[in-house]
Subunit: 388 residues, 2 copies
Amino acid sequence: MAVDHSNSLHNYKFEVPEIIFGRGMLSQVGPCARRLGGKKIFLVSDKGLFHSGWVDLAMRSLLDAGLEFIYFDGITPNPKDHEVDAGVMEYLRHGADVIVGLGGGSSMDAAKAIAILVSNGGKIRDFEGPDRIIRPLPPLVLCPTTCGTGSDVSQFAIISDTEHMRKICIMSRCVAPDISLTDPDTLSTLPDEFVGTTATDALSHAMEAFFSIASTTLTDVHAIKALRLLTGSLAAAVHEHKPEDMENLARASLHAGMAFSNSMLGIVHALAHPIGGLYDANHGSINAILLPEVIRYDIPVVTEKLEELAWGLGHRSNGNISAASEKVQESLDSLLEASGAPRSLRSIGVQRKDLPELARQALKDVCIATSPREADEEDLLNILERAY
Amino acid sequence: MAVDHSNSLHNYKFEVPEIIFGRGMLSQVGPCARRLGGKKIFLVSDKGLFHSGWVDLAMRSLLDAGLEFIYFDGITPNPKDHEVDAGVMEYLRHGADVIVGLGGGSSMDAAKAIAILVSNGGKIRDFEGPDRIIRPLPPLVLCPTTCGTGSDVSQFAIISDTEHMRKICIMSRCVAPDISLTDPDTLSTLPDEFVGTTATDALSHAMEAFFSIASTTLTDVHAIKALRLLTGSLAAAVHEHKPEDMENLARASLHAGMAFSNSMLGIVHALAHPIGGLYDANHGSINAILLPEVIRYDIPVVTEKLEELAWGLGHRSNGNISAASEKVQESLDSLLEASGAPRSLRSIGVQRKDLPELARQALKDVCIATSPREADEEDLLNILERAY
């Protein structure tokens, strides 16, 4: 079943927040929050980041802009529903009015979830799936300090439902922030392992966005640019930490985020969500493990787009589809090697006995809807087995 | 003086409205206006378009959404300050609350100018230049029916100051609409001559945006995509009017608009504004005439970006800059030939005696600030002479 990628009968929407990007720009978070009408800012971050000095810089910027703030750092990786509830209580108790999320995907997704609940009430699991949010959220500024999540521009928020050991995927234009502010200098303090694993998250966003059945020319240009930036800078960033390469990773994350927020994703993310929910494992690592197997599965139905993808990864295949396909898989493999990310589900502690249940859960994930190739439970289980 | 295009020390902003694109989507203008809180819609269009049936379609969509509307068509090409004033009177007299601009750049720029004045008061010339707007504008939906202006996504509005026979260039994030809605079906009734001349406007937006000193990777990907779409479809659209090619021109206009709104423009537009103001001539035609001369002027300082541009125009120059430069100029020339746009200032009625004054005025235009190559009055006069 070949998918029509011509887009010619394709109606689409494209929406991104206001984007601010540049070294040193974190000092502008105060003016941004003030411009959105803030007086008392709810600053969401995590304990790890505090010691890097970036939280302090953001706090000073808020104070310099004449703003009060409440600092909330009760967030862990794969942010949990009860952490969100605690944040909501703090926000309401202090009467905050604008939310700033500073950190990786966990801090930013938690900031989004807090924003949902302070204006809509209820429990975060009430908002699972597409378009369940009724009331407008407080203004939101998101500042990524890793290089992969894309949460700072995306219409997604992922929260762990600890009761059911699964991840809730919330999809709504409302959770895209008002302002996405990237300061690539913040990557200078990111531990090595997270440079590689968050960059592979950007890689999987770009590739899944590019092959998504909801992709358009507006998303494709950003997906391809992300791949070109990763191809040029990922290995060097991981090994040499040059600021130009780190900046290119930050930029790749932004481009990939703009792409997937509007085209959505596919099987990699549909599987990564239940795995992350069950094992509390690193999201970028899970994606890195699944991506080659999912691409292998997708390739037969995406031949029309393979050559452009190969070009994005640095190859000119001159119309030869099987050459393009080989090059794509080779390049992907060497990017993943360079990232240092783990390469098997076994190595991150996934238990074989859980694979069938993971496949079942993935079938219900919102990301499965835009996969270029349809998949049933058995197909997903095969992918998991190969990635094991 | 070579310009640094590496962007590595470059802080930037990128902002685009919500974008809706697709054949048949004009029927969604009513729901869009209602979603923005509208009850009484001020619909700005022009008399020419009325007879094509698209205005009627928009009106029906507004009525179907349960909205009242006031129809205002007192707009001419290169929209005039007094036409804007008349629109403002009508808007206020009826107590409208949302503005829909439907048409080419003239209707959309007039809609923007009316929006500025109904909430800020004063005369439109008070808002000339960057960031002069104080109060928020009423919500704005813009629906292009030509394939070049980019006004539907841009932070620019251009209005003719009839007293001084010049164009006022207003630049503000406030004039980007809330929603940009493109229905490429509307191009099916666009007269042939306007297909070519508005597409050359998109062409000049893409090329000036790409070479602008404010260009970034976020704008470059859109500029290059616009050039690739124009290269693939401009000649065929002008000669065969196939819906796929027309749709590609609409998409090229959108991509080019997203690029130039955020990177700004250069000498072509700095010169086109005073020429348009003095002669009330077609904007796309003026750009088509000036573009080859300005690119020739720019090339010595943009060599780093030439190869990517050549690729956008369908060539692979493999690192050979002079080959890339030749290919760019050849491709540009054949695109302009195919468009049917005029090729000399003389042919559109510009008088030689006015050239020095036009050069002087261009030096004061906001677009000159982002030209990749600096230019004084004599340089601009030389360009005008060569294009004469």
